[in-house]
């Protein structure tokens, strides 16, 4: 792996969303945390945007094939009602973008630039920034800031874990994940990520359920660490 390639960021995204995750996204079946992660990857990955378009087309076709329900109001009646009522003001309120160097779905969740967040140290070399305050059972949604070169404990996942690499890189049994890449993992994968030496790695994590660690140290750290 050529270092200069990574630092100037000309490598195209090489780890993509799985078909079933894209379909879940297209059907509106993902929780907000995972939806955000998918939207981050789609922002930097034209390849997955095309695949996402195909999933929307499939669903559009299913809508066209669907048996229609009986409706109560005619088009003319609907339009005349609409004229006599003011337009429903759909709230357009969206959060300000706290960091414009990251995809907006993430940038809107940040109070400021990613480097200057109030990171909380959770283990040597590992800091985190929580993006929700739901109980851990509901799944995690957070940013991790990992020092160059550190190794995370070997672990596996109960259900599904999505990781979006915001900065830097890490490597595990599956491959080398760089900025823009997504790791779309399920419970069958046991892995031990090693952060790249060259720079801090910042990763966005969303899980369905708590991570299951397979070593003792991992079990102790379980409450704190994603990826």
């Amino acid at each position: 792996m050529n270092i200069s390639e990574q630092t100037i960021g000309i490598d195209p995204v090489s780890h993509h969303l799985n078909d079933e995750t894209l379909l879940d996204y297209a059907c509106g079946a993902l929780p907000v945390a995972m939806e955000t992660l998918v939207a981050c990857h789609l922002t930097v990955c034209p390849h997955c945007r095309e695949r996402n378009q195909l999933a929307d087309n499939v669903n559009g076709q299913m809508l066209a094939d669907q048996k229609p329900a009986t409706i109560k109001l005619s088009a003319a009646e609907l339009l005349s009602q609409a004229r006599s009522k003011p337009a429903i003001s759909v709230s357009k309120k969206t959060n300000a973008v706290g960091d414009k160097s990251v995809p907006r779905p993430l940038g809107r969740l940040l109070p400021g630039p990613i480097e200057s967040l109030e990171w909380r140290a959770v283990a040597p070399g590992i800091k985190q920034f929580a993006l929700n305050n739901q109980p851990r059972q509901a799944g995690a949604f957070k940013l991790l800031r990992l020092e160059p070169g550190i190794t995370l404990s070997q672990h596996t996942h109960n259900e599904r874990e999505l990781t979006y690499v915001v900065r830097g890189s890490y490597r595990d049994e599956i491959g080398h994940f760089k900025a823009g890449d997504i790791a779309d993992l399920d419970g069958h994968v046991e892995h031990k990520p090693i952060v790249g030496d060259e720079e801090v790695c910042i990763a966005l994590i969303a899980t369905d359920a708590p991570v299951k660690y397979t070593t003792m140290l991992g079990k102790i750290m379980q409450p704190f660490v994603g990826i």
Binding site: V13, L23, L42, G60, A69
Partner: protein, 212 residues
């Protein structure tokens, strides 16, 4: 008018029923043109056609998501009004009418049940990556009527077990994990059926592209 819509709703059992005497490609092209006409000059006749075809389907979609008759009717009306008011944002070169209407119905339903908007790519994001590779071009599908008809045929040709998971995913709006539980199947089986189905749709579109 009401009568006509009721009849349409009762007669039409699926896209392949006798009502669909218009050739599917023509029908799809007409729907695209109707949306464009609504966007360009609030064409009421065009809206009546779009409404007659899609209103009952959108309502079915919402009932499938677990809404009762009354709330589904109400939300359907809201969705049809969004189509009426925002048709100028529809780009006929980018998507079939059914795709655009599906995305509006899905997003409005998410907004309704969750109380916050679906998170999507923002197309004016400063860091939106536009550069495509060779692989993306292969993935890129023409979005014309012929492609839409081929997509419909590809879905029809799926083996029953693959069609089932695709239908459940659409109708129930549940994740593949929930579908696996519902069907009492290992999650890996559901995943591989989804992958095979999407692959089949892709290869049929690509293979038929070569024939033309």
């Amino acid at each position: 008018m009401m009568e006509a819509i009721r009849n349409l709703a009762q007669d039409t059992t699926s896209a392949s029923s006798a009502k669909a005497v218009v050739d599917p490609a023509t029908q799809k092209a007409q729907m695209r043109q109707h949306l464009v006409a609504i966007g360009a000059n609030r064409d009421e006749e065009a809206f009546v056609s779009v409404y007659e075809y899609f209103a009952g389907r959108v309502k079915s979609f919402l009932i499938g998501k677990g809404m009762n008759e009354d709330s589904a009717e109400e939300l359907m009306q809201e969705i049809m009004l969004i189509i009426w008011r925002r048709a100028e944002s529809y780009d006929p070169a980018k998507a079939a009418a059914s795709t655009w209407i599906f995305t509006i119905a899905r997003n409005r339903h998410i907004d309704f049940i969750r109380g916050n908007k679906r998170i999507e790519v923002e197309l004016d994001d400063e860091i939106l990556e536009l550069e495509t590779t060779e692989r993306d071009v292969q993935e890129k599908h023409v979005n014309d009527e012929q492609a839409a008809v081929r997509l419909a045929r590809a879905l029809d040709r799926l083996p029953q077990e693959q069609r089932q998971v695709m239908h459940l995913s659409y109708f129930r709006g549940q994740s593949h994990g929930a579908i696996a539980q519902w069907l009492d199947l290992p999650i890996g089986t559901v995943k591989s059926r989804i992958r095979l189905a999407m692959q089949a749709v892709r290869t049929q579109l690509v293979a038929e592209d070569f024939e033309h």
